[in-house]
């Protein structure tokens, strides 16, 4: 497809601050453009008896919207985050305990889910929880002329025909989660996948850079 010329291949600015809270074991503030979330990790901590698993840690994810109680879309977001984190964590190392991940939405200007996934990974790195691989998420949107737009904001998403969110792992660079909405064909899906895969590599470099900077003055 000849869409390369008028495609926006730049992500919005990603910024983060590690260890912003003293009480949780790991915490991070991450912003992608004007979208921002705060993630806190506790774990391994004591688990309620009915949630206890004898062969691995139970992973609990809580997604809190900016105001009010979580709705259906927030629960969907929560379940995606839960599945991604559970896949990445080596939960068999901590049987009979739980790992609590709390995601607080600060501001939503589009792409909150990919921002939250990236926040979870950074917070888990900050907490020193054992993981099998790193994970990074990136999103892209498709407008009615067939142009791709990487990391779209809410203004673009309002008139977009389709939007894609992908999560990749750092080892095999494979897809671990995919969430799409709108109408598109298979070729467009493949193109979006390639585009997001390229963008996710930038996010992995960003993680490594931030963790190195954070650890350098603490070891």
């Amino acid at each position: 497809m000849e869409v390369e010329n008028n495609t926006n291949l730049l992500m919005r600015d990603v910024n983060c601050k590690l260890g912003i809270f003293t009480r949780p074991d790991g915490s991070v503030f991450i912003s992608q453009g004007e979208t921002a979330v705060v993630v806190g990790i506790y774990g391994p901590i004591e688990v309620k008896l009915h949630k206890m698993l004898i062969n691995k840690a139970s992973v609990e994810t809580h997604y809190c919207p900016k105001s009010g109680t979580p709705g259906i879309s927030d629960k969907l977001c929560e379940s995606i985050l839960h599945n991604v984190c559970e896949a990445a964590l080596v939960s068999t190392l901590y049987p009979r305990s739980s790992i609590l991940i709390i995601i607080q939405e600060m501001q939503n200007r589009g792409g909150i889910l990919s921002c939250a996934v990236n926040g979870c990974c950074l917070a888990l790195l900050n907490a020193g929880t054992d993981m099998k691989f790193l994970f990074a998420s990136s999103s892209c949107g498709l407008d009615d002329e067939g142009n791709f737009h990487l990391d779209p904001d809410n203004l673009f998403l309002e008139k977009a025909t389709a939007s894609f969110i992908f999560v990749f792992d750092s080892v095999g660079k494979g897809l671990i989660a995919s969430h799409t909405s709108g109408s598109f064909n298979l070729a467009q899906y493949q193109n979006a996948l390639e585009l997001c895969k390229k963008a996710s590599e930038g996010i992995f470099d960003f993680y490594k850079c931030m963790i190195k900077k954070d650890l350098q003055d603490k070891i």
Binding site: D25, G26, Y42, G43, P44, I45, E46, V47, I54, A88, V90, L93, Y94, P95, R96, S97, S98, L125, N126, A127, G128, T129, D130, M131, K132, F133, L134, D169, S170, V171, Y207, K208, I211, K212, D214, L215, Q216, D217, K218, I219
Partner: protein, 229 residues
């Protein structure tokens, strides 16, 4: 792509070409065995460390304690009885038998209340079982273990800072000792108990530790040298 000692590693990295002695590699926190022989899988972010002949571990940041056998910890009594429950900051309370104190018998037990602080050793820590504490060594002597005075103050610091101040080359505690007369019990679980003659001294010591936690090793050494000279 080979990773050298002292480099940053991240979860998912695989370490190859390791030094093996008699077919054994000793692996510390953050490292796990890999399917291929002589290879280790990294599960934490941090700096790769090596000690000859065959020990590897990862030096990273951590706040939550995970019990390890033989660790000396500071704990807070949460429940009393014949077997006390002690909070050592891990995912569950660990047990401490009243008979595992020096000179304790069924009739004569140490007087421990809820909220008291003990300095104890982890006798067993298995991930499937509750961890068990003792306040005696293998010769039934207390040594430095046992209940700590209620006059002291307890604070939490991160686990890698514990390792840093317990390093024999770290001048921090020695330098603090030149100015203040104090007692300190540093648990591997990140709980630190401090006692001094005056409350003001305790507060100053606490602030010194909290300030040092944010500084790098070289800065601490520099500040200590400046103070000593």
């Amino acid at each position: 792509m080979s990773i050298k000692i002292g480099e940053f590693v991240f979860p998912g990295d695989v370490l190859r070409d390791l030094t093996v002695v008699n077919g054994v590699i000793l692996k510390g926190p953050g490292l796990h065995s890999h399917e291929e022989p002589n290879c280790l899988l990294v599960t934490r972010a941090g700096i790769l460390c090596f000690k000859s002949p065959n020990t590897y571990w990862i030096d990273g940041q951590q706040k939550r304690y995970y019990p390890k056998r033989g660790d000396l910890v500071v704990g807070i009594i949460k429940k009393t009885g014949n077997i006390c429950k002690v909070d050592i900051g891990s995912s569950e309370l660990s047990s401490l038998s009243m008979l595992s104190f020096e000179g304790a018998t069924k009739k004569q037990k140490p007087d421990l209340q809820v909220g008291d602080i003990v300095y104890a050793k982890l006798l067993s820590a298995h991930r499937e079982m509750e961890s068990e504490l003792v306040c005696i060594d293998s010769y039934y002597k207390a040594g430095k273990l046992g209940p700590l005075s209620n006059d002291g103050f307890i604070m939490n610091i991160s686990l890698n800072f514990v390792n840093r101040i317990l390093d024999i080359n770290c001048p921090l505690l020695k330098t603090l000792g030149q100015k203040y007369v104090f007692e300190i019990a540093i648990g591997m679980n990140g709980k630190v108990w401090i006692n001094a003659k005056k409350t003001k001294d305790i507060l100053n010591l606490m602030n010194a530790l909290l300030a040092a936690e944010q500084e790098s090793n070289s800065n601490i050494i520099k500040a200590c040298k400046q103070y000593a000279s």
